[in-house]
């Protein structure tokens, strides 16, 4: 990815300082100066508010979008992919057995509250997440660090917990001792969920840390009006020279996609997340607005419970794969801003098998396969539809309707079943469903997060909703999980995908490529597949 080097404009310090003062005083003067357009204030509009600004205790994407600006993690992802690059750690080492990771930290970095960033701070943070008894764990206030548990195999004391010990080697060196190798440990370190909070702030704010974030990032927290806006301002002491470019970032909540676009058109906001794919064409033709796409990092699927008749028959599963018109779904729901799915892994991921071609849309073949399986007279089947929109499936009702329509063409009569979201998840996890709709979004950019969670037999009863149970695949995934060499891992995953393709436990519908729109004044904005990107380098042109 190119890191668009922007010409460093000379900083107008006097200007910024007066601006600061004005902010504290009140809003009247502030607008006046904003009105002049001299100020670098960026308004980023999105559909929902952040739940919490304590990133680790939430899995909410809208939270990390903001915390990404305030906090930093030891490693960072590359601008447009999940490739790792230095973050707060400028260097790192892995022992040969893959059980010891050493990070060398940046020196001279300060938290927004003025305290120093150092190895001790890193240790405090990780221990806070791992140990429910920790003084900053705030378990009493319902803090749960579920992402930590998922990514590191549980919490302190659990069998699967992988971080055995954290060793502060010196002020700026820290060493993690693992109980067993973990192929995606480094990948985890790049996740915004594992960024570093000021221990002093944890002490000061206690459980209210979620409303008073203090990190090392390019922007400092100013204020938060729930369900309306979060205001951040430039961190003048930011350790990366010349950054950030913006003086202020406002995260505005506008729940309706269409309202957001209206606001963008009227110049009220600068960037909007969650553009309706159907509106993309209009945006593209608008000279004042630029269209952005975020690389696919998820997929929606039509799952098949392989334990239920007739879906226990591979032929039927394949037939269904042939029967569903993915292109149509991609077109109808995403206006083409989606990639018809082939593998249960987003394209571009480590080990993505691009030799596998997805099932074509071929109703005739589907009928043949059904006949072969003994269902020439048609089948009746339940199609479970999820009740809520998810990033990978913005309108599940409509997709279900399209699928129902498709299946009807080949003689499968699908009866749509609706459940509330919580029971839906509970019941599908328990295997009550036949055909069902779900999806998966990536977090750390590692294939294991997809394949290991969705298709390993150990996930049955949990995230393996298809109840797919294939020893070969299990074997391959187990190996890949602990391997440290990334090429070796890639190879193992490719093999697994072949088997999965043949066994067809799911119809991988589409990988959506979310579209965004921004005013053409916005420069250097690069959407990241993880949904959160730093705005440090973004600036507004005149």
């Amino acid at each position: 990815a190119c890191s668009g080097d922007s010409t460093d404009e000379p900083e107008e310090n006097p200007d910024n300082e007066t601006e600061e003062e004005n902010n504290e005083e009140g809003s009247e003067d502030e607008e006046a100066s904003e009105g002049d357009g001299e100020d670098q204030v960026l308004v980023f509009a999105r559909g929902g508010d952040s739940e919490s600004l304590d990133f680790a205790s939430t899995t909410d994407g809208e939270s990390s979008r903001v915390t990404k600006q305030i906090y930093e993690s030891l490693l960072e992802f590359d601008k447009e992919s999940f490739d790792l690059k230095p973050g707060l750690a400028h260097d790192w080492e892995v022992s040969d057995d893959g059980q010891e990771y050493t990070f060398y930290l940046e020196e001279g970095v300060k938290f927004h509250d003025g305290t120093d960033f150092n190895a001790e701070a890193v240790k405090t943070n990780f221990e806070r997440w791992a140990d429910p008894e920790h003084e900053y764990a705030f378990t009493d206030s319902d803090y749960v660090y579920s992402m930590y548990g998922t990514m590191f195999g549980g919490f302190k004391g659990d069998d699967g917990h992988v971080i055995e010990d954290i060793e502060v080697v010196d002020d700026y060196t820290i060493k993690f001792h693992l109980s067993r190798p973990l192929g995606y440990f480094l990948q985890n370190m790049g996740m915004s969920y594992f960024a570093i909070t000021s221990p002093a702030a944890l002490e000061e704010y206690g459980p209210e840390i979620n409303e008073n974030p203090v990190g090392t990032g390019p922007f400092k927290f100013v204020s938060w009006e729930r369900d309306q806006s979060i205001v951040l301002e430039k961190n003048d002491e930011y350790w990366k020279e010349g950054l950030p470019k913006l003086d202020r970032v406002i995260f505005e909540v506008i729940p309706e996609n269409s309202s957001r676009l209206m606001a963008l058109r009227s110049g009220d906001i600068d960037i909007m997340d969650g553009l309706n794919p159907d509106d993309a064409a209009g945006v593209e033709s608008d000279a004042d607005i630029d269209l952005y796409t975020r690389a696919a990092n998820n997929f929606g699927y039509l799952g098949m419970n392989v334990e239920k008749e007739p879906l226990d028959d591979k032929l039927v599963r394949q037939a269904i794969n042939y029967a569903v018109d993915r292109e149509a779904v991609a077109e109808a729901l995403y206006a083409g801003y989606a990639i018809p799915g082939a593998n249960p892994l987003p394209p571009g991921y480590l080990g993505f098998n691009d030799e596998i071609e997805g099932y074509d849309y071929d109703p005739e073949k589907a009928k043949d396969l059904l006949a072969e399986a003994g269902y020439e007279d048609g089948v009746e089947i339940e199609l479970w539809t999820m009740p809520v929109a998810r990033p990978y499936m913005p309108d599940p009702e409509t997709v279900a309707d399209i699928i129902r329509n498709n299946l009807e063409q080949v003689g499968i009569t699908a009866e749509i079943v609706r459940e509330e979201w919580a029971p839906y998840l509970e019941k599908t996890a328990a295997g009550e469903q036949e055909l069902f709709m779900l999806g998966w979004s990536g977090t750390n950019g590692d294939p294991d997060y997809f394949l290991g969670s969705l298709l390993h037999s150990s996930g049955i009863g949990g995230s393996n909703y298809t109840r797919f149970n294939n020893e070969e695949v299990d074997e391959l995934l187990d190996q890949a999980k602990v391997a440290v060499d990334q090429d070796e891992r890639a190879d193992l995953y490719k093999q697994a995908q072949e088997i999965i393709h043949e066994e067809a436990p799911m119809v991988v519908l589409v990988h959506s490529e979310p579209v965004l729109a921004a005013s053409s004044r916005v420069q250097n904005y690069v959407p990241h597949p993880s949904t959160s990107e730093s705005l440090a380098e973004v600036e507004l042109s005149e």
Partner: protein
């Protein structure tokens, strides 16, 4: 001839002859009378025709269009109105006119079922509370009070949340929130009728309670109930549409108007026609019921007589 007439008139000197008034031999029942007045009310008749129109459209929907409600033509998504698709197409390329026509069935049915349900239970509870009084009245009235203490839409949303979002459950919710409305109306009517002289007279004849309730009190409470039911039709349809709009009512591919609007909402910039027609349909049907309801209120109001 003159003597004939005179004789005729002379005979009329009799206590039961109403002077020169033409003797109306035909008995005009109060219902017929009200209906006659209603028929003269032009606005009500307009409302009536609107409803009849939608009923016909609903019943004959399959004959009216060559499209099916779920005929997806993804290539023809979001087409503006044309001779092929009079009202345009939606995001799955379905003909909006067709969906609206089928949707008429749903809306009218929703109104009918929800109102009937609320009417039956509400009337029953209201009569029980009003006629038997004492603690029965206390309990029932308190329940009504409590239910009415919640803004109705909020209560409906909560009920649908319990039951799960679907058209049936939306119906149930709407019926429930309307029960206390009918209940209270009937109760107060029963209470006031209980004091009326003709009920007193019925009691003085030695009639039994049951007969007094069903022959005297109920028929005389009917007028406001009918008016409320008609207007309730309209509100029920609006409430169902609101629930549908919030995603708590009908679901794909049901062409419920509120749900159609909620789906179309994303296309407000791209294809406004997907929003315009379902909205107008809701408004017209509700307007129809309100017009009839208003007319009925006037026609059935004893004050308007003579």
């Amino acid at each position: 001839m003159t003597t004939e007439k005179k004789e005729q008139e002379k005979v009329d000197i009799h206590p039961n002859k109403e002077g020169y008034e033409p003797d109306e031999i035909t008995a005009i029942s109060p219902w017929k009378d009200a209906f006659r007045r209603l028929r003269k009310n032009r606005l009500s008749m307009t409302g009536f025709f609107i409803i009849v129109f939608f009923i016909i459209v609903g019943i004959f929907a399959p004959l009216l269009t060559s499209h099916g409600i779920d005929d997806q033509e993804l290539v023809n998504r979001l087409q503006p109105p044309s001779s092929e698709h009079w009202f345009g197409t939606d995001d799955l390329g379905r003909d909006i006119l067709t969906r609206i026509a089928y949707g008429a069935r749903i809306s009218l049915l929703v109104g009918f079922i929800a109102v009937t349900g609320a009417l039956i239970f509400g009337t029953l509870l209201g009569i029980i509370a009003g006629y038997f009084g004492k603690w029965v009245d206390m309990v029932i009235s308190r329940i009504f009070d409590i239910l009415l203490a919640f803004p109705s839409i909020l209560l409906a949303i909560a009920i649908v949340a319990i039951l799960g979002p679907s058209l049936q459950n939306a119906l149930v919710a709407i019926a429930i929130i309307n029960i206390p409305i009918f209940g209270r109306l009937v109760r107060s009517k029963v209470l006031s009728l209980r004091e009326e002289e003709f009920v007193m007279a019925a009691k003085a004849q030695g009639l039994k309670n049951g007969r007094i309730i069903f022959h005297h009190i109920l028929p005389n409470s009917l007028a406001p109930i009918i008016v409320q039911a008609t207007l309730g039709f309209g509100t029920a349809i609006l409430e169902a549409a609101a629930l549908g709009f919030l995603g708590l009512g009908a679901k794909q591919p049901t062409p419920e108007w509120g749900y159609m609007l909620s789906n179309a909402r994303d296309f407000i910039q791209l294809a406004p026609w997907t929003l315009v027609f379902p909205g107008i349909s809701i408004m017209l049907v509700v307007l129809g019921f309100n017009l009839i309801g208003d007319g009925l209120r006037d026609a059935l109001d004893p004050k308007m007589k003579n």
